[in-house]
Symmetry: C2
């Protein structure tokens, strides 16, 4: 495959990654909403640790070219952005409920 073909492939993969990342974060935002409704703490570090350990396992099963450490670093960023999106959705919700009072 030529450099141009490989770059075309990377661009297609990036499109798929962006879609999947948005679906993933939409699920996380919905989890946040359900936890809020149930009066559960929104930040649950044990679930985060569980996700990262699952990710590390899957990454080492695939054996490359990304190392497990690299995959974990990418997921730390993804989880961080998911948390940010959850907070944004939460403030919107609180704003709405204040308006409704």
């Amino acid at each position: 495959m030529s450099i141009e073909e490989l770059r075309g492939r990377i661009d297609v993969i990036d499109e798929q990654l962006i879609r999947l990342l948005n679906v993933r974060v939409a699920c996380a935002v919905e989890v946040g909403r359900l936890k809020h409704e149930a009066g559960l703490p929104v930040y649950q570090p044990e679930r985060e640790a569980q996700v990262l350990s699952g990710v590390r396992q899957s990454a080492s099963d695939l054996s490359g070219p990304l190392t497990s450490d690299a995959v974990v670093r990418i997921f730390e960023r993804i989880i961080d952005e998911a948390r940010r999106a959850e907070r944004a959705a939460g403030s919107l919700r609180d704003g709405e409920s204040r308006d409704g009072e």
Copy 2:
């Protein structure tokens, strides 16, 4: 959907993300190898800027829940890890060619 079902969905998406990330980085490593063979500079900031601007556009077309800035931050990390994998593959190559001398 319950919290448990949503978490199950997140875990499945994470598996798919890890696979796609590995294919993406394998393509980037191969681009690095071809550039090396052709005597081209391995670091091409204009291609990186092009990827990030494409990613920003796709993210804003999808309109959420991830903001374009969030998607760009995630891809900055992905590109960083791809570069690290390219360097690792490069040193392996150089080591091999030294052995072959």
